[in-house]
């Protein structure tokens, strides 16, 4: 599978501080790629380097097979960008924004998206609600028929209905061969939308896997009810944590293989057993905290 984005050993330093530390990433073409991390982890710096707003200190970034630094201008014809804090001109109307950007890049699907999002183009941006500003910023990302969307928290300020419209739009975009690279704090959103995910922490990528793998391989939550009192000492096992329960109930968080827990539970006459994959949030809390 071709890579839409290839980041090779990228470091970005600000003086003595390393915002990105030897980051390597591959974003497959036609996928929706989630980029997660706590505040200050380096997500926005990574996105600014992809967009050539910032220049990397070491390493290389290639986008759609071209060097992101030297061919940045040509690449931007193929990239739709939405920053987390997209500032629009307060004295311009939405129509002026679209005319200006579309006049340089070509209009692409903007007319269709204006209808889809039901955006009034006449008012000046300073008179728009934050949700409508976000709608305009999303539509601007689609100016010029991009092949790759780079979006920093795209659903910020959108109501649930519009969030779902955006999810459909992104899925449709990916289904037609487009690639989406998005950062988000909304883990449920990433879980339902993304095919692949990477986690960045203190400037380093600590995980980069397919969503199915990351959810299945990492953490299980086990809730068991037995006919007699459960001795929690039986569950002092490697990578197993007792997170709740008392008496005949026990709740466990299992990192890695679940087999030793099943064997320990087999000593009890169980009346109920529930094993679930941890939500993405639990998985990422593991990465964030450890």
């Amino acid at each position: 599978m071709l890579a839409a984005i290839q980041v090779k050993r990228v470091t970005k330093s600000f003086g003595a501080k390393r915002a990105l530390d030897n980051v390597t990433l591959t974003v497959p073409e036609g996928h929706i790629f989630g980029f997660l991390g706590p505040n200050g982890a380096g997500k926005t710096t990574m996105i600014r380097c992809l967009m050539d707003y910032m220049r990397v200190s070491h390493g290389a970034i290639s986008i759609l097979g071209r060097d992101a630094r030297t061919e940045s201008a040509a690449l931007k014809r193929e990239i739709g960008y939405l920053s987390s804090d997209m500032q629009l001109h307060p004295n311009w109307s939405a129509r002026t924004h679209l005319n200006f950007m579309g006049g340089i890049e070509g209009r692409g699907r903007t007319a269709e998206l204006v209808r889809k999002f039901n955006l009034d183009l006449k008012p000046k941006v300073r008179d728009l609600s934050s949700g409508n500003k976000q709608k305009l910023a999303i539509i601007l990302a689609f100016v010029g028929n991009p092949k790759l969307l780079i979006m920093d928290e795209p659903t910020r300020g959108l109501d649930p209905l519009l969030q779902n419209q955006l999810y459909d739009l992104l899925r449709d975009f990916a289904a037609q061969g487009g690639t989406v690279f998005l950062s988000s704090h909304n883990l449920a959103e990433v879980q339902q939308l993304c095919d692949n995910v990477a986690v960045i922490r203190e400037g380093k990528v600590v995980a980069a896997e397919a969503m199915t793998d990351i959810l299945q391989l990492r953490v299980h939550l086990v809730n068991a009810v037995a006919a007699k009192v459960i001795d929690q000492a039986d569950f002092k096992l490697k990578d197993v944590e007792v997170i709740g329960g008392s008496g005949k109930n026990i709740s466990l968080k299992v990192r890695g293989k679940i087999d030793p827990v099943i064997k320990a539970l087999a000593k009890y006459n169980l009346t109920d057993l529930e094993v679930t994959h941890a939500a993405l949030e639990d998985v990422f809390m593991e990465y964030y905290q450890n």
Binding site: K76, Y81, M86, I104
Partner: protein, 267 residues
């Protein structure tokens, strides 16, 4: 790329119009008061004849005996009020075009366009230069119709010289301001840094004119080369002024373009 230039000109047309109208209004006042001031020029000459030459040069009072409208404009307008207007306009444009847009975050829209950084720089810089040319054309040649309304003769070659010098002066202030604006991300810092530098060079020129021992300081002042007294009297611009302003503009522009093309922009 020129859409950026066109859009910026459109966005800032009202402020440019205000500066141009303000300048025309001042020229009108000077045209209207020129003839009556001629009568009192002799009295003023008597008053200032004992003053040091440096003082007269510094405040544009060295050609009071001349009876042309251009010399009168130098004394009243081009030696103090016009430079102030020009500096404010050039500095505010330069500050808001680069550092101001980075500070406001709107630079992000431009950087997302399929344009090289230097193309964005040139497009914005062209807006600044066009603004300067329009302002200097109106604020210099605007005197021709206003003076003719009062039957006052004007001297076109003198005004051409004045236009070249004022354009070069304003262009220099703009280019130097753009260097600072391309370096920092806060337009307030641009205004503070450039104002401080201009203030220092102005004071240096005044000190150089008043004290012979420190006369070498004048070579470090932009205002020394902005010799409107000579230009508005004879239409002649010294080669030194042309060279200093021209070189400063070229060097500052190259440095600003280089810096803007290479810097990190956090938007």
């Amino acid at each position: 790329m020129w859409q950026i230039t066109f859009r910026e000109l459109k966005d800032r047309k009202w402020s440019l119009l205000a500066y141009c109208l303000g300048s025309l209004l001042l020229l009108w006042i000077y045209a209207a008061t020129f003839k009556s001031s001629q009568a009192s020029a002799q009295q003023l000459l008597e008053v200032v004849k004992g003053y040091p030459k440096g003082f007269l040069d510094a405040f544009g009072l060295n050609n009071l005996a001349s009876n042309s409208i251009e010399v009168y404009l130098n004394a009243k307008h081009f030696s103090f009020i016009w430079p102030l207007l020009a500096i404010i306009l050039a500095l505010s444009r330069a500050g808001s075009q680069f550092a101001g847009e980075i500070q406001a975050g709107t630079m992000g829209l431009l950087l997302a366009l399929p344009l090289k950084r230097w193309q964005i720089f040139i497009a914005k810089y062209a807006t600044g230069l066009l603004t300067i040319v329009v302002f200097t054309l109106i604020s210099v040649f605007g005197i021709i119709p206003l003076a003719s309304a009062y039957d006052i003769p004007t001297h076109f070659h003198v005004l051409v010289g004045a236009w070249v010098l004022t354009t070069l002066f304003m262009g220099t202030v703009y280019a130097v301001s753009v260097v600072v604006s391309a370096w920092v991300s806060d337009k307030g810092r641009v205004y503070a840094i450039v104002s401080a530098v201009l203030m220092l060079t102005y004071v240096a020129n005044i000190i150089a004119l008043l004290d012979d021992k420190l006369s070498g300081l004048k070579y470090y002042s932009l205002f020394y080369y902005f010799n409107t007294a000579e230009v508005l009297d004879t239409g002649h611009i010294t080669t030194r002024s042309l060279a200093v302003f021209g070189l400063t503009i070229v060097i500052a522009t190259v440095v600003a373009a280089w810096r803007f093309s290479r810097r990190d922009i956090s938007v």
